[in-house]
């Protein structure tokens, strides 16, 4: 039912199923919303607002005051992707990593946080022995942000920013953490733990 979910997930293709959000561990807590319906959305009904992957960042830039207002009221914004337009408070534009070997894609979890509880970083680095899915660069965080995960060279690929706004901003520089709900590895813990964290977070 519209407006009862904890997290609104902006979406570019509602006609196609998105398997990670259909998973029993997350489906009752998320609501996919057409990106272009954002201006009409009552954001006050959601604990979190997520935008990932191929989302239209030009549109988010044109409507950045809606995002900023939601954060000023204590909301949580989850972004996963390469920041290509400056719509997200505090976040720097994506910096691709110069890759010289697959070891450069190695992921380290560097801060304790509920969304990574029980997650083995090896499962983020490799899929079927192939590296490079989790992140290929970073969105530079602002001062005061807490880095949760980084690449082998220290590039911050997941960070949490509770300083720039009155709300909370979680940024992943890969395709997005909500995709991590399926599969047989500990990586599948991330999306349900992330949604639970957003749902239960007490507003300051």
């Amino acid at each position: 039912m519209r407006g009862t979910a904890a997290v609104a997930v902006l979406d570019m293709d509602l006609r196609s199923p998105y398997e990670p959000l259909e998973h029993p561990s997350v489906r009752d807590l998320v609501e996919r919303v057409d990106c272009y319906d954002l201006p009409a959305l009552d954001l006050g009904r959601y604990r979190g607002l997520a935008a990932e992957g191929m989302i239209d960042q030009e549109f988010l830039y044109r409507h950045r005051q809606l995002v900023a207002g939601y954060l000023d009221r204590g909301g949580t914004v989850v972004f996963g992707g390469h920041l290509s337009r400056p719509w997200l408070p505090g976040a720097g534009m994506f910096v691709p990593k110069v890759i010289t070997s697959f070891g450069d894609y190695g992921v380290r979890i560097v801060s304790d946080h509920p969304i990574f509880a029980g997650v083995n970083a090896h499962d983020l680095t490799y899929r079927r022995g192939v590296a490079g899915f989790f992140a290929r660069g970073h969105n530079p965080p602002p001062a005061g942000a807490v880095v949760l995960a980084e690449l082998a060279g220290g590039e911050p690929v997941v960070y949490l920013d509770e300083h720039t706004t009155a709300g909370v901003i979680l940024v992943h520089s890969g395709y997005g953490l909500l995709g991590y709900s399926t599969g047989e590895t500990t990586a599948a813990r991330i999306a349900p733990q992330l949604i639970a964290w957003v749902s239960q977070r007490v507003r300051a």
Partner: protein, 207 residues
Amino acid sequence: MIGALYGGSAAHHRALHEPKYRRLLDDILYLPDAANAGLGECTTLIVPERLHRGLLHRTAPAIRTLLDGGGTVVLFGEQPTAWLPGLRWTHRPTNWWWWLDGGPAPVAVAAPDHSLFDRLTLADMTWHIHGVFDPPPGAEVVLTAQDGSAVLYLDYVSTPGTLIVTSLDPLSHFGSYFMPATERFLDGFLPWLRGFTSGTARVVGKA
């Protein structure tokens, strides 16, 4: 004049603004604006994969007008609805791992003499496919899946213009810093398209 629709994603942003590609494009048209205001002076339009379907369908009348005027439209990626003439799409589950499993490559050459191969090799067109097409009779099939279904074809018959249709999705992968073959594809395809639309590329199927 070649234009490309831009859906606002980071991947499209990178692919279309990469200098070596941007200089081959005369205009970049942000899809929500094109859906309202049309396609400007473009006579050739590139339609990247994974655009918002609702907005794309609102742009369809302007794209039909371009084709009816003899223009050229390039469609990349999945086309689950027949929103332009001649489109018949079949989804295929994607085998992302054929190269790891030792399986056959996902695509094969159907027209080795086509002018596209002046600029591209099969390896430059090989990463994965998400589906295939059943092209209209008279269309020129250039690339197929291993079972012969069309992956890239040129359609001179469904409209007065030219539809170049492929299920390949190079822009989103190049734009996401994935899959080196997609960069080689764009390195060859975009200069070919300029030649094709200006009449300097060899045109095999067009009498």
